[in-house]
């Protein structure tokens, strides 16, 4: 009899434990809560702007309308934020982070300080794609890829360092397409744009969104793009199609991983599935919000939701590369 008494007490205890949850299930998960959006980069940049945009419009699409706050954890190209959320932050669905798009690449290259497995984050998806283009000054006679191939003088392209698209995209063109390219490194993209203005540099590679104002103003024209496409540059030749080298194709495809998930958002591993489902749905809906789209357009940003599965597919593609390709990749791409 005594034993039954204990069982009864145990069941009762469990019931009591579950009671608050059964009540909560009736109220929306996020009601009365605060959703913290961590930015892994400094204020003023593209990651910051996207996070603020999301903080403003996301609550509208999350049942229970939580308050959304933006917080900065900058440093080490976003690695500090990624490490923190992977290892320390409680997976309660209340903290998400916009990490650097180069995350899987950092992991593949075994960059110093990587303390996470990019595939194990609870992925929400990406809020935008960031297509890469190579732009050349409009006053130069090069209009097409063929023109560039025929050029006698090397092209001086502005770059901000080997860990950046402005360096990685052209260096693969140089290696696998045989273009004559000389990379000139500047302190930041502002300085490299000024160098183009004063005709010291002949052009630069970068995300289409950041180069668009200069393309529209007629300072530069886009010539080659990466695999990921945005409206306006559909007709440009793709770097992967221009090379016959299979290894080159693979490496270019790996480089473009970061383009597809231009503004990735993740939560700590093991975040509650119901919260993740709510967030993913909110992201997919918010990307279509007319008000948000209008505001994004003013900032010259495009918002396009890339679902979590697609981001994970890209992450796994990068991480599952055989060792020899990874080694070859690390020759050109740094984190």
């Amino acid at each position: 009899m005594k034993r039954w008494g204990w069982v009864f007490a145990g069941v009762l205890f469990l019931d009591v434990l579950c009671f608050p949850f059964t009540i909560q299930a009736a109220a929306p998960f996020y009601e009365g809560k605060t959703l913290k959006i961590i930015v892994g980069h400094g204020a003023g940049g593209g990651y910051d702007r996207m996070a603020r945009l999301m903080a403003k419009y996301l609550p509208k699409y999350i049942p229970g309308k939580p308050v959304a706050l933006v917080e900065f954890v900058p440093g080490a190209s976003g690695l500090i934020a990624a490490n923190q959320i992977y290892n320390i932050t409680k997976p309660d669905g209340l903290t998400i982070v916009t990490v650097d798009r180069g995350l899987p690449i950092a992991q593949l290259l075994k960059a110093e300080g990587v303390r996470f497995d990019a595939a194990k984050f609870s992925w929400i998806g990406s809020a935008a794609v960031e297509a890469t283009v190579l732009c050349i000054r409009s006053d130069l006679p090069y209009k097409t890829f063929e023109d560039l191939l025929r050029a006698k003088e090397p092209l001086h392209l502005g770059s901000v360092g080997p860990a950046n698209t402005s360096h990685q995209f052209p260096i693969l063109l140089k290696e696998f397409l045989g273009l004559k390219i000389n990379l000139v490194i500047y302190p930041a993209s502002a300085e490299s744009m000024l160098a183009i203005e004063r005709k010291e540099a002949d052009g630069r590679a970068g995300s289409y969104s950041s180069l668009k104002p200069f393309i529209e103003r007629g300072l530069v024209r886009p010539v080659i793009r990466g695999r990921v496409v945005e409206s306006g540059i559909e007709n440009l030749p793709v770097d992967e199609d221009l090379t016959k080298d299979l290894k080159g194709k693979a490496i270019m495809a790996m480089r473009s991983a970061g383009d597809l998930m231009g503004r990735p958002f993740v939560a700590p591993p093991g975040s509650p599935p119901e919260a993740m489902a709510i967030l993913r749905e909110a992201f997919s809906k918010v990307a279509k919000d007319p008000e948000l789209r209008q505001e994004a357009e003013k900032f010259m940003m495009t918002v396009e939701y890339v679902p979590a599965e697609e981001c994970l597919k890209v992450v796994n593609f990068v991480l599952s590369q055989p060792d020899d390709i990874a080694r070859e990749f690390s020759k050109y791409i740094k984190f």
Binding site: A43, V73, I185, A188, E191, A201, M300, K334
Partner: protein, 505 residues
């Protein structure tokens, strides 16, 4: 052009625009006073407020805030020896000793007046160079930038103490700063330098914790040891007279103030250099105005000219700093990047259009810088007596508050606990530098210019090979740099050699 010039003024005088500018000034006042919290960060915080504003309201608001920050930042530097902003460190060197001598009123009067002169000069510089601004900015390529940085580094010889030993210590201090600037991931090969496995160090050391540590902590230690108020036991009776004296000082050394304003504006145009460098170059220039060795030795111990120079320069760079953003749509620095976000938000595309289609708005920016500084200086002058009295409060009441402000200021740079460690470490370094007479200004110059020098040397060489060395502009700047470097020695030949110990700065 005159139409636009007057039109710009009329924009600013509209009721809404003026009101928003006043609000901006009020915010900027506090941002400037509080150490660490910088103009850039605050611009980011204020951005959401402009969603519903028109461009004619938003820019007076944002710029009104941004352009008074350096003015009020000087106040903190003078009163407490803590840099209110990263651009007002040089004001400490002579301003704080003046405050310690009980002449806070005079120093504040001088710094506010010279700030006003600087701001007005900077605004008119922007106004008058608008027609020729594009060629002006484009004249400086990477090789020229590299030589300008070298020119900046030659100021080390002027910023060091006198005598052979002083110069040695100065060069060592500069080299140390140069080395510290190399911490982090290098730009050329992506190699991690001096990071010791710490992710925090990847992006290099932030300037705020380093500067606040280097300059403020030793002063706080000193204050605690002395056990008195900042102004010591000096009687602080005639503050009002001091302020008037300080204002008069500005006009007594009017040409120095103007020359330093010119330095500020010229350096302000160049992206990457800006206020951080301008203040030191102009301080160095101010010390060169010393006619005798005694006069020179008094710099760092409270010479009013050492306050006037940087006070003018860190404000005159404000107008010039807008040029790359307005003329090319290329923001120089994070503050301007955020301002450019504001342009986009308001439906404007910064770039050549701002010099033609939206010229009126550009001129309204010029007016904003001028008017907001006039207002803030007037307000400050009203309250200056009360502010100066802060230096008579007992030290052990001030220290906790001042220390707290230092910590908050440092923490805002990365929101990382390591910011505080950097603050303390550099506080210790600063203390020993003062104790063993290593001058601190050369360290700061090396720290700001080190990585830039490296990058521009590299880009000049990859772009032009060795040919860049023979570009005419490079040779001209080199000649100026050599003249700058040897000037103190030539000057000394005509002075009497008296003192032996280098000064503590």
């Amino acid at each position: 052009m005159w139409d636009a010039f007057i039109g710009g003024l009329l924009i600013n005088l509209q009721f809404n625009s003026f009101l928003y500018m006043l609000v901006g000034c009020a915010i900027g006042f506090w941002v400037g006073i509080l150490p660490g919290l910088g103009g850039g960060t605050t611009l980011a915080l204020m951005l959401p407020f402009i969603y519903k504003m028109s461009p004619e309201e938003a820019f007076p608001f944002l710029l009104g805030m941004h352009s008074v920050v350096a003015t009020t930042g000087d106040i903190t530097s003078v009163l407490f020896g803590i840099p209110g902003e990263a651009t007002t460190v040089a004001t400490i060197v002579d301003g704080y000793p003046l405050a310690k001598k009980g002449e806070a009123g005079r120093a504040l009067g001088a710094v506010l007046m010279s700030s006003l002169v600087g701001a007005l000069f900077g605004a008119s510089f922007l106004a008058f160079t608008i027609p020729i601004v594009r060629p002006l900015v484009l004249a400086f390529g990477s090789p020229e930038m590299f030589m300008l940085i070298i020119l900046g580094l030659t100021c080390i010889s002027t910023l060091s103490g006198h005598g052979k030993r002083g110069l040695m210590l100065g060069l060592m201090s500069g080299a140390f700063g140069f080395m510290i600037s190399l911490v982090g991931q290098d730009r050329q090969a992506g190699v991690l330098r001096f990071t010791f496995g710490q992710l925090y160090l990847w992006n290099g050391l932030s300037i705020i914790p380093v500067m606040v540590g280097l300059f403020a902590i030793p002063e706080i230690v000193d204050l605690a040891v002395r056990g008195t108020a900042i102004a010591g036991n000096v009687q602080l009776g005639k503050l009002g007279k001091g302020v008037r004296e300080g204002i008069k000082d500005t006009f007594r050394h009017f040409w120095l103030t103007v020359r330093c304003s010119i330095i500020g504006s010229l350096i302000g145009i160049l992206p990457g250099l800006g206020g951080g460098v301008a203040q030191w170059v102009s301080y160095a220039h101010a010390t060169q105005s010393a006619k005798t060795e005694e006069e020179r030795a008094n710099f760092g111990k409270g010479d009013i000219r050492g306050v006037l120079g940087p006070g003018a320069a860190n404000n005159s760079k404000e107008g010039a700093g807008l040029i790359p953003t307005v003329a090319f749509g290329i923001p120089a620095g994070s503050g301007m990047a955020i301002l450019m976000g504001a342009f986009f938000l308001l439906g404007l595309v910064p770039g050549p259009d701002m010099l033609t289609k939206h010229l009126k708005l550009t001129y309204s920016m010029v007016w904003t810088i001028a008017i907001s500084n006039v207002i803030i200086v007037a307000v400050c002058l009203l309250f200056i007596n009360r502010l100066a009295k802060l230096t008579t409060i007992r030290g052990n009441l001030m220290i906790p508050i001042v220390l707290l402000l230092c910590f908050i200021g440092a923490y805002t740079s990365n929101n990382d606990i390591a910011d505080l460690i950097v603050l303390m470490v550099f506080g210790g370094i600063g203390y020993f530098m003062v104790k063993y007479r290593f001058p601190r200004p050369p360290f700061i110059l090396g720290f700001i210019l080190g990585k830039l020098a490296e990058t521009y040397l590299y880009s000049s060489a990859t772009r032009y090979g060795a040919a860049w060395l023979l570009r005419p502009k490079v040779l001209i700047i080199l000649a100026i740099a050599v003249a700058f470097a040897v000037y103190p020695f030539i000057q000394k030949r005509f002075r009497k050699e008296v003192l032996s110990e280098p000064d503590k700065i």
